[in-house]
């Protein structure tokens, strides 16, 4: 008999492999999107916090989560619930997630940003602090476009969102 704690752990391990379709290379777990996993009998309830409202990938994410969780022996049904309490905020992104974002060419959001104030982002390529904001809104709603004056590369940064 597999205990539900054990199952839960296995489900988490599978979720670690699920990527955000808009930012491949970062798992939804490291983005801080999974609020809770509840395993009862053969059902896994997975509570997910949607990120930016303008990222229309929720249906796809839901499908991928279902597929991932069903790979776990002992789980027969998966119920993905999108919840809004607590709200998803960028400070939920793990250290590993922040590193992966950089590898993807996206500067992670500053963790100490005060809402409404301009935020400062270092260049993900050379680490320079000598950067300028070109456009708050990048190719998707969650990203901004910046320019590094040191290595002369444009780069993207994830916008900080915090609970006000």
């Amino acid at each position: 008999m597999i205990t539900s704690d054990r199952l839960k752990e296995t489900v988490y391990r599978e979720l670690k492999k699920v990527e955000d379709p808009e930012i491949t290379s970062v798992s939804i777990l490291d983005l801080g999107m999974v609020d809770d996993v509840i395993v009862q009998e053969k059902e896994a309830v997975i509570q997910v916090l949607p990120t930016f409202s303008g990222c229309p990938a929720l249906d796809l994410i839901k499908k991928r989560i279902e597929e991932a969780a069903l790979k776990v022996g002992g789980v027969e049904t998966v119920n993905v619930q999108f919840v809004y309490d607590p709200p998803w905020t960028t400070d939920r992104i793990t250290e590993e997630g922040r590193e992966q974002l950089k590898q993807f060419g996206i500067a992670p959001p500053p963790s100490d940003h005060i809402d409404g104030e301009p935020w400062h982002v270092d260049c993900p390529y050379c680490g320079s602090t000598y950067t300028t904001m070109e456009n708050i809104f990048g190719p998707t709603a969650c990203r901004s476009i910046l320019y590094c004056k040191s290595c002369k590369n444009p780069f993207e940064a994830m916008k900080p969102v915090a609970n006000l």
């Binding site: 303008g54 229309p56 249906d59 809004y84 709200p87 708050i136 190719p139 998707t140 709603a141 915090a162």
Partner: protein, 274 residues
């Protein structure tokens, strides 16, 4: 004041539920229509960076509309996609200002869109949206509190964007200043419709779903007053509602043509995902 934790609780009180669904339709339809008008600008904005930014904002706003339609779905009003695409114009609760076209001409043939109108309409609307969301953070309907909190996080970025445009254009050339003033006059004629909460507004306020219309109006006017003072403009009389109150189902024919275009694909094949 009593709070309602779930849709089931709200549904137990018909009067409460009726006012709540009215407000949700207002919030959803406002974002939905303005995002649609914004999306018509695609490829036509003043420069490529603005094209990217404006479409991101419209995408966000469509996302916000979807969140409200989902809340309505939970209250048994029907499927979220059907709510946005299959209702007839008189069922829409958006303010008339937000359904008006971007200018003369149309998207495919000679669009003669007015950027000043887009900036003023979006800026003033976003100011009002933020004020309402602040109020909704303490709504008696708990799921709406959570939705408002979510939307608010993103609206701050929209506000920064439109504020920048507004200030730059109003302080720019004489020509720009003149066009902006014209746009302000145009928006002013209908803006009361955005601030109105319609015939059910009293029940909404009494049951704590959102604060009363007068309070919201006062906050908006005092905000706009300070924006005007900074830009050397003068606040005239109160904003008006010349073409009727969309909150009560009054609309211009431009809504119907907008909905026709928006829903063409959906109506033909509602079952198809797109």
């Amino acid at each position: 004041m009593r709070t309602y934790e779930t849709a089931e609780e709200a549904l137990e009180s018909p009067e409460y539920n009726e006012a709540l669904t009215e407000l949700l339709f207002q919030l959803a339809d406002d974002d939905f229509l303005l995002a649609y008008r914004g999306s018509e600008w695609l490829g036509l904005a003043p420069h490529i960076e603005e094209d990217v930014a404006f479409s991101s904002i419209n995408q966000d706003m469509m996302g916000h509309a979807t969140l409200y339609y989902k809340r309505l779905e939970e209250l048994g009003e029907g499927k979220a996609d059907d709510l946005s695409h299959l209702r007839s114009p008189e069922k829409f609760r958006n303010a008339v200002l937000l359904e008006l076209p971007n200018g003369t001409g149309n998207y495919l043939e000679k669009p003669n869109y007015d950027w000043a109108f887009a900036v003023v309409r979006n800026y003033f609307y976003t100011l009002a949206k933020k004020i309402k969301l602040e109020s909704l953070k303490t709504s008696s309907y708990v799921p709406l509190q959570h939705t408002a909190r979510k939307v608010l996080m993103e609206v701050n970025y929209h506000l920064m964007h439109w504020e920048t445009w507004f200030n730059q254009l109003i302080q720019s050339t004489e020509e720009a200043h003149k066009r902006m003033k014209n746009a302000i006059d145009q928006v002013w004629e209908e803006f009361m419709g955005v601030l109105s909460t319609g015939d059910k507004g009293d029940v909404m306020a009494r049951s704590g779903i959102i604060e009363d219309e007068e309070t919201i109006k006062k906050r908006w006017i005092s905000k706009v007053e300070s924006v005007f003072t900074q830009s050397g403009l003068h606040l005239k009389e109160k904003p008006q509602m010349k073409s009727g109150n969309g909150r009560n189902g009054e609309h211009t024919p431009t809504l119907e043509s907008a909905l026709d275009t928006l829903s063409e694909v959906y109506r033909k094949a509602p079952a198809q995902g797109w």
